[in-house]
């Protein structure tokens, strides 16, 4: 008996101690922090920035982002646009999947047809509000056959895309993972749902190959793809990703040289700035998404629809000290924002100007001005025949360190600057917050929206009547018409006129204070000395490593 026990113990002990071999990758392998788990490596299931980043490391689109965020040729060597702008013909270059198969136009056709059928979150990228691919609306919303999608492959190296309206930024949509190719044979050969769940069930045709991965992995690694079409220009040997939940942990890991690129939160930024050694490694980059207040304008909320009154909304938006919010509570270099479309992500293709570069353009309706706020408030009181108001503001308590602080600060500012307004706070999870907003069961909500593509429409499209993301239920016929003109109507071919019309639409939103923009989030990154060329983008792919190099 004893002997058997001993034996069992010994076996258990041994099996516990068996260590896996294999050393770290090559010399130029970098350690990179991810703040959340990669949710999926299937480009039709992924919905978050971290997943998109890893997918884009491994798979190229027809185009990819250059360091400025503009579209440059990738799997498409070149492309032609028909004169009416309705037909795009992409010429696919000689590239290989990591199993040796060539990348063909058919891989895109298959991927896109799969996307319009299965991609629940980003299928709309094909529809008439964004990509305008022919028949996408009918397939997505009216159950038409996916084979009718306006994409075809006359031969292995040519991809023809037909649009319903000219889309000037169609090339820059192509670097978004929703439009990436899938190897049909490989994908359909796998057991359903297992694509992208390990190194063996994932194919790469990009700069890196997935080495060792399982869903939810806290750490996993990518190695350089020797067969990549542009392999000569890829200098890194690999990337080790590490999921780090706490930004303080990230900071210590960075200081201890465990990671080479981390993102820290506002609380750490102050400490980093005080540290001579670290402050030189700090790089603040735009994260893209904007936090704003959404006001419910329907009768059943806010004491019988009080917030349907534009003056009351204007009073609130002018009573908020956004500079104090970003300096005292967010603290990571986020930008106070006074426009419905945040700055930094959408630049005009003709002039190169940032759509919202000028943050003072709506200063007369949105700024921190207590006097003006009180004027609006007086007007609102007169119109509503009421002196005191009590609203509840909902916010997520699992959406980052600063959200709770910001909510509390807004409460204090609004109550102090508008005597008679009481803003109660109600904390809940993000899922609950979204649920309440979708069911129109809230007064005021602290919420956020990130750009999906580099065009102001990614924001402005939200406030048309009946849009699912129009949480305030604001409706304006002029606005709807303007947006329609810009997506499928008269402005689609005239870039500058469209740009001007978009600005006009934004003015309508701001004059009515449909939302109260608060701040545009930034990421405070720490980058180790010697790591250069990592491209940061506020939209689509947050970090791109194709130009990165590590010299020690």
């Amino acid at each position: 008996m004893k002997k058997i026990l001993c034996l069992v113990l010994a076996v258990v002990m041994l099996s516990c101690l068996v260590a896996c071999g294999s050393e770290n990758g090559g010399e130029k392998t970098i350690g990179v922090m991810l703040s959340t788990n990669v949710m999926s490596l299937d480009c039709n299931l992924a919905t978050d920035g971290d997943s998109f980043e890893v997918i884009a490391d491994c798979i190229d689109g027809l185009t990819q982002m250059d360091s400025e965020g503009a579209a440059i040729p990738a799997l498409a060597e070149s492309w032609d646009i028909s004169e009416d702008g309705m037909t795009w013909t992409f010429h696919i270059r000689d590239a290989k999947w990591s199993n040796g198969d060539p990348v063909t136009a058919n891989d895109f056709v298959f991927a896109w047809k799969t996307a319009v059928q299965t991609n629940e979150e980003y299928g709309y990228m094909f529809d008439s509000s964004v990509g305008c691919v022919k028949n996408a609306d009918a397939i997505l919303y009216d159950g038409a056959d996916a084979d009718t999608l306006g994409v075809s492959a006359p031969d292995d190296k040519t991809l023809v895309v037909e649009l319903e309206a000219p889309v000037s930024f169609f090339d820059s949509l192509m670097y978004f993972p929703t439009f990436y190719p899938l190897n049909e044979k490989f994908y359909t050969g796998l057991e359903a749902g297992t694509y992208g769940t390990s190194g063996d069930t994932f194919l790469s045709c990009g700069a890196f190959i997935l080495d060792d991965y399982t869903p939810g992995a806290a750490n996993f690694s990518l190695v350089k793809n020797p067969d990549y079409w542009d392999a000569a220009n890829i200098k890194l040997d690999g990337i080790n990703y590490q999921v780090v939940g706490s930004s303080d942990n990230a900071l210590t890991a960075f200081k201890g040289n465990s990671l080479d690129l981390v993102t820290v939160s506002g609380a750490q930024v102050a400490a980093v700035k005080d540290d001579k050694d670290l402050s030189s490694k700090l790089k603040v980059t735009g994260a893209g998404y904007m936090w704003y207040l959404s006001f419910s304008q329907t009768e059943k909320n806010a004491q019988g629809g009080m917030l349907a009154n534009a003056n009351l909304r204007l009073a609130i938006t002018n009573a908020i000290d956004r500079e104090s919010l970003v300096e005292n509570y967010v603290m990571d270099g986020s930008l106070a924002t006074y426009t419905a479309v945040p700055p930094q992500f959408a630049a005009s293709a003709t002039s190169g100007d940032d759509f919202s570069g000028d943050q003072t353009k709506f200063a007369d309706v949105c700024s921190y001005n207590v006097e003006k706020a009180q004027e609006y408030f007086e007007a609102a009181k007169k119109e509503l025949g009421k002196d005191s108001f009590e609203f509840t503001m909902i916010y997520g308590n699992n959406e980052g360190d600063e959200v709770t602080k910001v909510a509390q600060a807004i409460k204090e500012q609004v109550e102090a600057n508008l005597p008679g307004v009481v803003l109660n706070l109600q904390a809940m999870s993000k899922a609950e917050r979204l649920d309440k907003m979708q069911n129109d069961n809230y007064d005021v909500a602290l919420t956020r929206w990130g750009p999906d593509y580099a065009d102001p429409m990614t924001y402005l499209g939200m406030w048309i009547t009946d849009n699912a993301n129009n949480y305030g239920f604001w409706s304006n016929a002029d606005y709807d018409q303007l947006i329609k003109d810009c997506t499928t109507g008269k402005f689609v071919t005239d870039y500058d006129a469209r740009w001007a019309a978009l600005y006009e639409a934004e003015t309508l939103v701001m004059n009515d204070a449909v939302i109260a923009p608060l701040y545009t989030k930034s990421n405070a990154n720490l980058i180790v000395d010697g790591l250069t060329g990592v491209d940061f983008h506020p939209v689509a792919l947050n970090r791109v490593y194709k130009n990165a190099d590590l010299t020690k």
Partner: protein, 315 residues
């Protein structure tokens, strides 16, 4: 004995089945929308419910589910990792958790036993005091606090060990988490062993043995240790369970891909993943019941004095 073993195993299996059914029913009658998403339409949600068979009779659903579970298939997640099949995640996670948990339990038991024995032999001397300080510390401070302490000192202040779990440096990576998890086990076992030993050393039969001229190591090994160790087996079961709980945070902080981290991801993320909760709930219960079963059987084997009544096994 055979009858007892058989009966004990049967009870365990039935208990597990009942629990599985209860968990399944609870998770399936949940209110609200299991697919939290900003962009999903009501129709898409309805279609997904239909696809997942959520509209069937609960017994039909349970039967289908159990058929799949027997094949090792726990279905797909509802929100976690965007619905990756649970089995693709589970294997590696279980392996990691078992390895680290196993080391922790072995380390804790071994050191705890040594500490307890040494303390008992040096009653009221330095080693005894040291042992009680260690056991107080281990009981009063959570494992994750130890982990933070070790990580801060041995992976940050001095970079002796990896700061995060790294599967390529498996052995070094297991030191910090398994040591921090083993402390609770160690302190409990040390305290328990010491008290058992002291009690036995004071007992009449040891006194008798002593008066017969038996003393020193022979007495300790043959009479004291042997009888003191048997009850230690009984505390192991609850300790393993505590370890499972402790592993949750330890895995999360140290970035170990184990079932504990999976559980935390499943319940503390933006939406709770019903299917992961169910699968992990079944696994955890199975583990728990399995461990209790093993301990009972081993205890029965080790100690012939235990007369197993027909109701045996009730604890």
């Amino acid at each position: 004995m055979k009858k007892y073993v058989f009966k004990r195993i049967l009870t365990a299996v039935i208990t597990l089945l009942i629990i599985t059914f209860l968990l399944f029913t609870l998770v399936r009658i949940m209110p609200g929308n299991p697919f939290p998403s900003e962009r999903m339409t009501d129709e898409a949600i309805a279609a997904k419910r239909e696809e997942m068979g959520l509209n069937d009779n609960i017994f039909v659903q349970f039967w289908n589910y159990m058929k799949n579970v027997m094949k090792g298939d726990f279905g797909k997640g509802t929100s976690l990792y965007n619905g990756a099949p649970i089995k693709t995640v589970l294997g590696k996670s279980l392996a990691n958790s078992f390895k680290i948990g196993g080391i922790a339990i072995l380390l804790g038991t071994f050191v705890g036993l040594v500490l307890g024995v040494v303390a008992a032999l040096n009653r009221d001397k330095f080693m005894d005091v040291f042992c009680s300080v260690v056991s107080i510390l281990g009981v009063c401070v959570p494992a994750y606090v130890f982990l933070i302490f070790l990580q801060y000192n041995f992976a940050y202040k001095t970079t002796l060990l990896p700061y995060f779990f790294d599967s390529r440096r498996f052995f070094e990576s297991t030191i910090i988490p398994s040591v921090s998890m083993s402390l609770f086990t160690m302190s409990t076992i040390a305290r328990f062993t010491r008290n058992e030993m002291v009690e036995i050393m004071d007992s009449d039969y040891v006194l008798l043995a002593e008066s017969k001229g038996m003393y020193g190591s022979k007495l300790i090994t043959r009479h004291v240790l042997r009888n003191a160790l048997i009850p230690v087996v009984t505390v192991l079961a609850p300790l393993v369970v505590d370890l499972l709980t402790g592993a949750l945070v330890v895995e999360k902080i140290y970035g170990i891909q184990g079932i504990g981290k999976l559980m935390v991801d499943a319940i503390s993320g933006e939406g709770i993943d019903y299917n992961y909760v169910l699968a992990l709930g079944i696994l955890y219960s199975a583990l728990y019941i399995g461990i209790m079963l093993i301990v009972d059987l081993v205890y029965g084997l080790l100690d012939p004095r235990i007369r197993i009544s027909s109701k045996g096994g009730d604890k």
